[in-house]
Amino acid sequence: MIEILAVLGFPLLGALLLAWLGARPNAPGINVAVSLLTLLAAAALTARVIAEGPLLVLDRQFFVDPFNVFLVALTALVGFTTSIFSRPYMRIEEERGRLTPAKLRLYHSMYQLFNFTMLLALLANNMGILWVAMEAATLTTVLLVSLYRTPASLEAAWKYFILCGVGIAQALFGTILLYFAAERVLGAGGGALLWTELNAVKGQLEPTVLSLAFVFLLVGYGTKTGLVPLHNWLPDAHAEGPTPVSAVLSGLLLNVALYAVVRCKVLVEGSVHTSFARELMMGFGLLSVVVAAFMLSRQKDLKRLFAYSSIEHMGIITFAFGMGGPIANFAGLLHMTAHSLTKSAIFFAVGHATQKTGTQLIDGMRGLITISPMMGWGLMLGSLAILGMPPFGIFASEFLILITAMREQPWATPFLLAALAIAFAAVVSKLQPIVFGETNATRLPHRPAMVPVYTHLALVLMLGLWIPPYLAQWYRQAARLIG
């Protein structure tokens, strides 16, 4: 319990603190420190869960089970590494005059608040609180995306706000319907929105209402997950915001949104005894993978490229959860983890690369490896990892997903494989000249923070070759939970 309070309290306090001190020169340091504290708290929470099993605390409002505990740990970890990365990155941005101290204050404060909302969404047992946290996450990130106040960033933020706002409104309607259905079983009052309670009685919930609710929830949280055709805000928001924000958006927020979808799916599955929810998720997943793969080949902007890659991977994970079953769910969870780590590592490298070359257009970036081998290799290896090249972890999950699909949904495999091949061709052909070849990059005064990049890549590599037993155990339990 104290751990949960700490996990949520540190970022919230940090946000307040940074709202006050965020413009100081040592603010990035504070940011890192707060993130570290959050990480430690999350580690303690994880240890507690390992030792004692699922937790249900604070009047049943907070809940930790194998499904969300690893996401909490992952969120805290990536939040911490991103704060490390953002230290030199933001300094350089400030020196180049793109940011003022006031904006930095906003940035730091919102960064912590954003972390808080994500952790809240993950830990909340109440579906209503989950919704509130998701909406709050949208609001904080809107501010972060529009940080530069350039026309493009404003446009991106506006689209993000409107599309996700509308989307999340649908999710609220879905939540209301859920409550509507649950109330009949559980009675009015707080209990009817608690996931644990709902999960216990999911068999008695009215199927018609729940399937209707699921449509709204899927469209709502699916917008935030970036499922095609609800994805249109995503590339803009990723490309125009500051790179640390892109990293957390891609690496964490999408996961959290998908987490919400999956939580809802569990309830609906338990109530509706058709494959309706599965089919919807598979359909959305597949469509996202295919469309994103084609989009990848048309990108001229590096960050947009990886934004589409996120859509693709969210599609893969959604597809996996849609298929269901112990292997596919396991793979989906593994993919979530590996994708977060890899994608944020890529964005770290991309961030430094854009600073060195002064552009984020693909045609303008050349030969990174000459000016900074560590960064070039980081970007290259990260991209290969995200494309599902072994021995990185994404391959492990894609392997499992593909072989399950082959057995259970053979019709989908050709689409998946074709999309993967197209994505591979698109990304490698664009990345290769960026990393190799004659250079146009310059050296900058601040050393790039490469430690986060390689930490993430090392973790992803480990996941490809060896999954720690307790992690595997969680995945298995969570997979069983998801059904």
């Binding site: 209503g128 919704w131 609001l139 529009s146 026309p151 991106a156 309607f173 009215e206 018609t208 209707l212």
Partner: protein, 222 residues
């Protein structure tokens, strides 16, 4: 048909009013009138919430009603009025599709929503169950409004009106969500509005206009 309690009849009336207002907003060209219509929608929402609170004796819904009243009848319309004045954007609203067509689509949407809601309403235990269809129709109509407006402020009003529809569903169909959730939702709406206000200024500063056609640069297709 058994007798419906009086308060429920009032709620049904208010629901019809809500739907009517939604249509009116869909058809309204002037921004200031739009804001007024939005305020009226908020008022009927607050009223219905209060009546539900009274009828079902759920005191926490009074809180909710009060919150709605303050937020949606006073604060937000006031904010919007201020914005419109400061930004000097009192022009007439031109939709992307002409009004009659929009109305026609709107009617189809209402039929669709009602159809969707009927089987659910049958199941509900609340007396106000039939309002669910109206709430859904309101949400849909607001959605349509967001699609058809090409200026930023009407779009936002559409968004807020969608929230109204949702609130209406939450209160009348289910007798209200848990308080902590409602508070959270209200907070989010408020903060969102504030952020939007800041946004309008920034957009204005960058583009000299709040026309959304300036916000079409980020795209893939040529």
């Amino acid at each position: 048909m058994t007798a419906i309690p009086f308060y429920a009849q009032i709620i049904n009336l208010l629901a019809a009013l809500l739907l009517l207002l939604s249509f009116a907003m869909l058809a309204q060209r002037r921004v200031l009138s739009l804001v007024n219509l939005f305020a009226m929608q908020g008022l009927s929402l607050a009223l219905s919430t209060a009546i539900v609170a009274y009828g079902t004796a759920q005191p926490h819904l009074y809180w909710s009603a009060g919150l709605t009243f303050v937020l949606k009848v006073f604060l937000l319309p006031w904010l919007l009025h201020r914005l419109i004045r400061q930004l000097d954007v009192r022009w007439d609203v031109e939709g992307l599709i002409n009004i009659p067509t929009t109305m026609l689509i709107g009617i189809v949407l209402v039929v669709f929503s009602f159809n969707l809601a009927v089987p659910i309403s049958e199941l509900a235990s609340t007396v106000t169950r039939s309002t669910l269809g109206i709430a859904m129709a309101c949400v849909m109509l607001s959605f349509l409004m967001m699609i058809t407006r090409r200026k930023a402020i009407p779009q936002v009003i559409g968004f807020l009106s969608m929230e109204n529809g949702l609130f209406f569903a939450a209160t009348s169909a289910t007798y209200g969500m848990p308080l902590v959730v409602e508070l959270g939702i209200a907070l989010d709406v408020l903060v969102g509005m504030l952020i939007l206000g800041v946004f309008f200024f920034q957009i204005r500063e960058q583009f000299d206009s709040l026309d959304l056609k300036h916000l079409e640069k980020l795209k893939e297709g040529e």
